[in-house]
């Protein structure tokens, strides 16, 4: 197994006084797909939100314990106040269950993270956007309509666009929350294939409700079913 990318030690998570996660100890290997499974409400999405600190946007949320991630060869505490959450989110991409293109053009959707990061040089933007769209196998379908509204794409196309948008920042870690559950089997298969292709340059963490999908692509499984602490 590849070296660890993320180490989670005695982690607890609360929404106000309601404890969602308790004493989690896990290691997430680099350049691999780690799959999170478990019943609805078990805290899978919450778990995912720890890695880009998106949980901070929920009032009353609180975390205890340590999550360390290795960026450029040294481990750092993700919750360290000295670590900029903005920088973190630029290094940790996320794809949601429902495709969430912004109400802007296809091109601008993918270019959006670059704009946020202050990368404005036209040629750079053009190249990186094109590369990201191509990586997601979306190029032939959108190359003639880059300035059209992203919401005119089909669900599967939108989800691949969101993948491209997450990848344009070349994140080291990619979080995926049930990325194929709202898609037809063919679009789902495309996303799966893409995830496997991403392994050499990314550490992927995916929540999945589909056992067959986990069987097909996961290198490691973390089971959130209460009572089971099983890891594969």
């Amino acid at each position: 197994m590849t070296p660890p990318k993320i180490k989670i030690e005695s982690l607890d998570f609360y929404y106000n006084t309601h404890q969602i996660l308790s004493n989690i100890n896990e290691t997430i290997p680099e350049n691999a797909i780690t799959s999170i499974i478990g019943p609805s409400g078990a805290g899978k999405s919450t778990f995912l939100s720890l890695f880009n600190r998106l949980w901070e946007t929920t009032p009353g949320a609180r975390v205890e314990g340590r999550i360390q991630a290795r960026f450029s060869d040294s481990f750092m505490d993700i919750n360290d106040p000295k670590l900029s959450v903005i920088q973190l989110r630029r290094a940790v991409g996320m794809v949601f269950q429902m495709p969430n293109p912004l109400p802007m053009s296809i091109f601008n959707n993918v270019a959006f993270p670059l704009k946020l990061a202050g990368i404005t040089e036209k040629e750079t933007v053009q190249n990186r956007v094109t590369t990201a769209i191509k990586a997601c196998g979306l190029w032939p379908e959108v190359k003639d309509r880059l300035d059209k509204k992203a919401t005119t794409l089909s669900g599967g196309q939108q989800q691949r666009l969101c993948m491209a948008r997450a990848l344009v920042m070349e994140p080291e870690i990619l979080l995926l929350d049930e990325p194929t559950s709202s898609l037809d089997p063919r679009s789902g298969a495309m996303i799966e294939e893409l995830m496997v292709q991403l392994k050499p340059r990314c550490t992927l963490i995916m929540v999945s409700h589909q056992p067959d999908q986990v069987e097909r692509i996961a290198d490691q499984v973390i089971d959130f079913t209460p009572g089971s602490e099983s890891c594969r």
């Binding site: 998106l54 946007t57 989110r89 630029r90 912004l102 109400p103 802007m104 946020l116």
Partner: protein, 293 residues
């Protein structure tokens, strides 16, 4: 609810709409019938030739041209003051304020929106009187005081609509930008505001309408019967609603009353034009924010 209940509510709701529509139609029809005969260049420019008036070669004394210009200047000024302030306050309320400040400020903004315009006018009037006596004799009711008072009057609308528009952006949209590495401000400017622009525009339209229509405030703070075209912030000015009020309360003959109705139509037309303009601007802003490469 039983079948009769369903039917009754349905019929009543249809009836209410018809009633409303009917009253608006009657109002507009009445205005048109009464005012249309007066609607000619003479109403606007009086005896001054139109071209001379438009190019400011000659003053208009017996037309509503100065009043139209005054009203436009007043709206432009008041909105220019109120919109940035209101937007910023709304953004603060929705995105930055804590629970306590939000409820306290919210309460005061609600209170402010309930203050009758005559009270705001009186306040503006007293303020300028105070300045007149204590700071400079030259300070008197004028365009600027009216604009400030009107801005004050319409601020709560803009604050409230901005706040509500931002607060009702769905959580999913709210975290989209954040997950992509947006700072708080970037998320507001690039994701939340474009999403809520049309609701915010609703508040601004309401404010424009209020500025165009309000008579109580301007009567006390600077509107006069005759001032010519507005050329200074520190002078009195003419305004359409005040003209309408004045001419219809003191009319000497039928022609003058008809002129009042004609001025009403002009005022409505001005409002309609401004609303259209606002919608176009909203489209443009949205487009630049979202679609420009």
């Amino acid at each position: 609810m039983n079948r009769w209940g369903e039917k009754a509510i349905y019929s009543l709701s249809v009836l209410s709409c018809v009633l409303l529509f009917g009253s608006v139609a009657i109002l507009l029809g009445y205005l048109l019938v009464k005012g249309l005969p007066a609607l000619n260049p003479g109403l606007i420019f009086g005896s001054t030739p139109m071209v001379d008036a438009l190019f400011l070669k000659r003053q208009v004394f017996d037309g509503i041209f100065p009043a139209m210009a005054g009203t436009l200047a007043l709206i432009a000024l008041a909105i220019t003051i109120a919109v940035p302030l209101g937007l910023l306050a709304g953004i603060y309320m929705a995105e930055y304020s804590g629970r306590f400040t939000r409820s306290v400020f919210g309460f005061f903004f609600d209170l402010l929106s309930g203050i009758p315009s005559i009270v705001v006018g009186l306040f503006g009037f007293s303020a300028i009187l105070f300045f007149h006596h204590h700071i400079s004799e030259s300070l008197a009711p004028c365009l600027l005081v009216s604009a400030l008072s009107l801005a004050f009057l319409v601020l709560p609308y803009i604050v409230k609509t901005t706040q509500i528009a931002l607060e009702t952006v769905p959580q999913q949209t709210r975290i989209t930008g954040l997950a992509l590495g947006a700072t708080r401000l970037q998320n507001i400017v690039f994701c939340l505001i474009p999403e809520s622009l049309s609701t915010i525009l609703g508040g601004i339209i309401l404010a424009v309408g209020r500025c165009a229509e309000d008579t109580a405030v301007i009567m006390l703070t600077g509107a006069v019967v005759s001032a010519g075209l507005p050329d200074s912030l520190f002078k009195g000015y003419e305004a359409l609603p005040f003209y309408i009020y004045y001419i219809s309360s003191q009319y000497a003959d039928q022609t003058e009353l008809t002129q009042g109705f004609g001025a009403c139509i002009v005022l409505l037309l001005i409002c309609a034009t401004l609303f259209t303009l606002a919608a176009i601007i909203q489209k443009k802003v949205r487009h630049t924010l979202l679609y420009r490469h």
